[in-house]
Symmetry: D2
Subunit: 347 residues, 4 copies
Amino acid sequence: MMVIMTSSHTEEDMNAISSRLDELGLKGHRIVGVERTVIAVVGSIMPELSDELETMNGVETTVPISAPHKLASRQTHPAATVIRIGDVEIGSGKTVVIAGPCAVENEEQMMETAQGVKAAGAHFLRGGAFKPRTSPYSFRGLGEDGLKLLAEARDETGLAFATEVMSEREVEVVARYSDILQIGTRNAQNFILLEEVGRTGKPVLLKRGLASTIDDWLLAAEYILNMGNPNVMLCERGIRTFETATRNTMDINAIALVKQMSHLPLIADPSHGTGKWSLVTPVGLASIVAGADGMIVEVHPSPDHALSDGAQSLNFKRFRQLMEQTDQIGAAIGRPLWSFDKQPAPA
Amino acid sequence: MMVIMTSSHTEEDMNAISSRLDELGLKGHRIVGVERTVIAVVGSIMPELSDELETMNGVETTVPISAPHKLASRQTHPAATVIRIGDVEIGSGKTVVIAGPCAVENEEQMMETAQGVKAAGAHFLRGGAFKPRTSPYSFRGLGEDGLKLLAEARDETGLAFATEVMSEREVEVVARYSDILQIGTRNAQNFILLEEVGRTGKPVLLKRGLASTIDDWLLAAEYILNMGNPNVMLCERGIRTFETATRNTMDINAIALVKQMSHLPLIADPSHGTGKWSLVTPVGLASIVAGADGMIVEVHPSPDHALSDGAQSLNFKRFRQLMEQTDQIGAAIGRPLWSFDKQPAPA
Amino acid sequence: MMVIMTSSHTEEDMNAISSRLDELGLKGHRIVGVERTVIAVVGSIMPELSDELETMNGVETTVPISAPHKLASRQTHPAATVIRIGDVEIGSGKTVVIAGPCAVENEEQMMETAQGVKAAGAHFLRGGAFKPRTSPYSFRGLGEDGLKLLAEARDETGLAFATEVMSEREVEVVARYSDILQIGTRNAQNFILLEEVGRTGKPVLLKRGLASTIDDWLLAAEYILNMGNPNVMLCERGIRTFETATRNTMDINAIALVKQMSHLPLIADPSHGTGKWSLVTPVGLASIVAGADGMIVEVHPSPDHALSDGAQSLNFKRFRQLMEQTDQIGAAIGRPLWSFDKQPAPA
Amino acid sequence: MMVIMTSSHTEEDMNAISSRLDELGLKGHRIVGVERTVIAVVGSIMPELSDELETMNGVETTVPISAPHKLASRQTHPAATVIRIGDVEIGSGKTVVIAGPCAVENEEQMMETAQGVKAAGAHFLRGGAFKPRTSPYSFRGLGEDGLKLLAEARDETGLAFATEVMSEREVEVVARYSDILQIGTRNAQNFILLEEVGRTGKPVLLKRGLASTIDDWLLAAEYILNMGNPNVMLCERGIRTFETATRNTMDINAIALVKQMSHLPLIADPSHGTGKWSLVTPVGLASIVAGADGMIVEVHPSPDHALSDGAQSLNFKRFRQLMEQTDQIGAAIGRPLWSFDKQPAPA
């Protein structure tokens, strides 16, 4: 850590800092520059030290040097993490796709969608049984009944599924039914919930918070990894910016950068990242090219009758086109779809 | 709701929308403008309708008209809500101050701080027993032992206290000890937790999320109010923007606007809103002038030894000055401090 | 335009609005909803009307309906604009690349770079002669001498070039030497300069402002188009958000959306959009896949001796790899590079 | 400057950096930490060095230490700058108010407004003759005729005036008529224009850019100061964030912080900062309490007929109330209005 002194600091201020560093078993190297004096602190630094030093007389600010995330970092774990669920590997270099409705609505819709996305080549199902909604007056999901329909759809199609868990108390029931536990953007820093899903050992799909920096996001992953659960997939789903023409701003830079910084698999969510179905395909394909290991896409048999997020859902035909284009572009960069049947599926 | 049609929509598109509105028992008025055609939808509209219509052919976008928050709105509840805790009223027109350390560290620190802020005129204590930390490797609070120390400090000083609750499972224990349940910025849209604190009926201090719009924030309050708990205080604590010279950007506009939109009391948090102790006083005073009913301030007997957030904590002397200035400026706008002793307290 | 009335508006308020609309030759349709009353205004509406109506009694807010950009819009001009410069077409469906140093530093650097990017397959040169710098103490370019070196490089290589113009007074001299006039992000809403480059009739590369919404950006293009100059290329170069791990946030959604909204060619700038050379290739390729017609890339013979923006510049080897990958991925989506020689160029 | 090495850097990388620093006459101190090695660079560092070093092998990133603004900084100029215009001092400790219409529309409106704001106690006039408008189809001001009306209004009332200059070519004419040259938010980093107004030596009101950090803003001031013009007033007018309930987000933190960082006077613009007249008074008062030396406010005789920005304009009655409250609150903090007549002015 670097401690940057104000231009008006005194020798006494410097001594006070030295004493405090001594107490903590740290070493401080003094560097006198043309305009500023800096103390370089060497040793095992607690995250709190920065706050403490910043209140001391003569200190202008502090600058951290080491990355705060250890377990998620490529520096400590250069090899890519590969997560195997059933027959499918995520993070292996081949591209995977998770697809399904935003919310599980009823048996017919769920079965039809599951068969539709299976026929189009999807590797996993998605579907919301417990739905976080900005307004308490919106449709909030079928709960455990939704989980049962998802499990039924898995039995029918052989596709494992991801579904969101919003509550510590529901982690057990959601983990019992599902293959992948999804943490939503609004719970991206619900640390209690992160530890709880960490304890299950199950694969976790961790969405980035609306206002999470890349550091915040990797530290959220760190909460799960730190419970002994290595099966974390990061999910970029757009951040909140001043631009309102799209629902969120998909952070394509973050996809490329996180793949350099971390060994964890990364899944792009162009449905939430854009909020418009006509942008899902171009932005989904772009995300794969930027480095994502896969994508999660909202598909609905008739998007104009969906109970939520219809505006960003693809119908089956458009989803099949997305799969074909993903395979083609993926092939051009050596990352085609995982086990994809190029023959058009029967309608 | 307004449905805005693309310039290339067909008569068939219009008819499909009409049929769907009919099915839902809604009426659509067609308005043909110079460039665009719009359908004004009248009736009791579900929040999901917007998503559904946006996927129909010929629809460009939809525009909601009614405010989605009912219980938090001044339109349905013009009189200001006043929350009484012990002898103190919040939202009554007089200004209240909640003060204490970021984290409860030990008995000595807690008692010294409680007595210090009491002597300076604070109306409530604050202190974190369960601490949400961005990194799992940071100090995360004393837990129930911290609650006990807070209760002890209350016994000593007579000041009721606010403390954060992070977990559904801990709502019961936190509610048992504390007077005000605080929901932190990272749980601002943890809807399960909001409903759980709603059920307790206890006063809730609801922080705005880092990326919550004013609408999101009022809808989060709606979750609590909707459980039959009217005792909600909103807390503006800064939002995340591109500016990094301060920890957050205190949204002074939101303070003024929310007081017009909602009947709920509003508390400003200049400690987190700025992240720098030298800005706490000017921004805290400004918040009161903009309309806040009170403020919550981090105070520490020796901020340079605090285990968290030292950089934004005031010492006792600066806190006393803040109280005096708040009373003086508050008096100039008819909102002096609640029962404040103008005589300097003994050191 | 929709005028949304407050829930407490009076009949008198409604009449005042009707009278004002009559004065302006507009028609107002009254729609009485369950909670709100709305007036739909039909006619040729001046942009100022919104401000005026919002101050009238009983009005809560107004909502515009028509897109404010006419000349840039695909609605009024469905066919894609193709700009021909020398032998190269931009916006034709094939991908083009503009490459060169951030700043023109001296003859040797400029010639070496021009030959290097030519050998790698670039279609145009770039290079800054007049440099906008956040600090007045930074290197600000060679001015007209830089333009001369660019022209010399064009003579040598046959590549036309783009260069920034920062000042109304320099439009004439920059237009005299260069083939494409670049408007930088800090001048994205310098309306005087926009009109001035509009008057030249020359191709303009219009960067998006750091805080420009898509609407702002298209309206900036409108200033140029409105002067009778149809040769506008839009350039997405990242927006400013809370994320600081990258220099800017490349708005990949905007690339896909703007191609749907507007007929103008769109060029991606992954160098400024990311600020890190290691992200230029993945984000540049992703931008093409999302819909960009080309990209502009900073290349420097020895980036670690560049006088500006070295951190985001590619060397020749990495640039050649980018060209090859662009061609390959472009081919997979039917948009290969414009006239690209697949044989590795001699070193 | 600190150069932070990657964890995989080599001794050769370190040597290459040392050689380069030697060439530049700088010294590098090597600090070996637990996880990272850092080189502290001492000497007179060019702003470009950071970019250059970041491309060298083994370098992860660089961290600047010195503040880049010299002339605007309180460190080099501890005493507050006071600007005297006519009889009025800005930055003296008393509060000043600049008021008038957004745009000069015609003689009657301008005279009526000038007399109205004079009667209410304003110290300066404002009014736009050259108007920057997001759309080329909006009303763009009367140009030089507007300047003449402003000068006439000054002759009538004795109030000096501020008006925006958008074009290098118009600096001369605007400077000839006006007392304060205003640089608008969209030209906040139009460096050519900044230097041009710097050359005039006239007082400049420099608005913060929509996306300018505090550092960017002070460096923009630096451009003007660097031309030998010390008469710079900074103007906080809100930044662009994700919140759309208000037109901009007034950065109250920036007001308090900039007064600590810089000796320049700071004027708050609550009209643009909020975009709603009902927020102008609370946010304007809050800005003064946070440390602003004055405010600039839009006033219009009949805001509902204004040609621009009516929604954020005060009428005379509300403006008089704002003046009275400013004086009262200002008095409570030792910064009352400059020479204010407490007797209600005749209607």
